[in-house]
Symmetry: C2
Subunit: 246 residues, 2 copies
């Protein structure tokens, strides 16, 4: 399922972009309304958001914000977001994202978080903040990439080596040439002369670099020839935002 | 003196690469031998490095290493390097570089230091370390860029704004298109809605990004047309080292 080999030949129709946000949870809540309050034992019937205060007083839902979660978003996702969005304005920034993801994934490093924010944020927003839609997309992407990581971490060490990284990225639709793998891996080389291995955090970081740059390149190589002609200006405006994301 | 306009027209012969290491000190020491010991009042005549121990016992010079400084390197440069190279192995790493540059320049931020090391290091070395030649080149480059920065910081505020950045980079041979300036500047936007301004540290960091990426692009656009055709593999191997430098 190679989608981008970098060779100068027309490629097969590209594999579906593994980065597309999709909700793939085994659990579908019975009433998947974004308005549904967090489950509680109360006197409201199913499916009707609280409009006022009765015997049980839940905090009023900020429906204008939380209706922005895609339909069918798992309650855990919404809950994780709500718990860190302390000022309830519907946006979270890097530190809050780190906390929100720690619940179901882990505490990612700042560079990994910054890359996730950079790749998933709403381009109309000037700051590095994440709203409900973007958070749901990040959560989904991480879930998918975790499945792949665990598939290749056969000995359950929590690490994958260079060859497993190559195969994992291939599973996700990225045919990374050996020379590219080499420069990518070098970042995680601790100079100890032991074979390089990557934690899940590093896998996400390196994988996001591959994902983001590949998508940028593909925007310019619309016929999937494996080559793109770039002006100096295009080249610089494509790349610099990546560098300043760190 | 535009050297790289990004337009699709053959450009004039490029301006001399301002990054070329050159020693441009007003002071030329009377005996510019890299072997010359740090000035001391002793019983040795000018020009003869101490071969043994006499009335005055200076520490034995590690000539095998310090002979690597380019001929004519200012003693301050050598001294700054020596003072931080505690294990005297002829190489310094990021923290030591920060200290060494603090003497004559300032304490640069880690991201600026990493970019300097990435751009100036010996490519044959796998680690991020700097030897005498590279250190002299960094020192020289910073000196040149400081002159330019001070020229455009007319009110001596220690900051330059976006237009001054553009003009400063132009003085250094980089004709940066407005769209590129925009993405570059956005890194230094603190979200306060005040006009963006850059300290010398930020100027060096942003300038090194422009310098490094421009040089990479020019390697592929050898006829200076303003465009380059890149394969996916070339694109990724050019860019990823920049991203992992941070």
């Amino acid at each position: 399922m190679a989608s981008y080999s970098g060779n100068n030949k027309p490629s097969a129709p590209p594999a579906p972009d593994p980065g597309e946000p999709r909700v793939a949870y085994p659990y579908q809540p019975p009433n998947p309304s974004p308005y549904a309050p967090i489950a509680h034992s109360g006197s409201f019937g199913p499916g009707s958001p609280p409009q006022g205060y009765g015997y049980y007083q839940p905090p009023p839902p900020t429906t204008n914000v939380y209706s922005s979660f895609p339909l069918g978003t798992h309650p855990d996702v919404i809950r994780s977001f709500q718990m860190v969005d302390r000022n309830q304005n519907g946006y979270i920034e890097e530190k809050e994202l780190q906390e929100a993801l720690a619940w179901n994934y882990q505490r990612f490093s700042p560079s990994t978080l910054r890359l996730l924010i950079f790749l998933f944020r709403d381009p109309r927003e000037s700051s590095s903040i994440i709203g409900p839609k973007e958070f749901a997309a990040i959560w989904s992407c991480l879930g998918q990439w975790r499945v792949i990581f665990e598939r290749f971490d056969r000995d359950r060490s929590g690490k994958i080596d260079a060859m497993e990284l190559r195969d994992a990225l291939y599973s996700l639709g990225y045919a990374v040439p050996p020379s590219v793998l080499q420069v990518l891996i070098s970042r995680y080389d601790d100079g100890s002369r032991r074979p390089v291995d990557l934690s899940f955090d590093s896998f996400i970081e390196g994988g996001m670099i591959v994902k983001g740059l590949t998508e940028k390149f593909k925007e310019k190589d619309t016929r999937y020839t494996g080559s793109a002609t770039l002006t100096y200006e295009t080249f610089m405006t494509m790349i610099i935002p990546f560098l300043v994301a760190d």
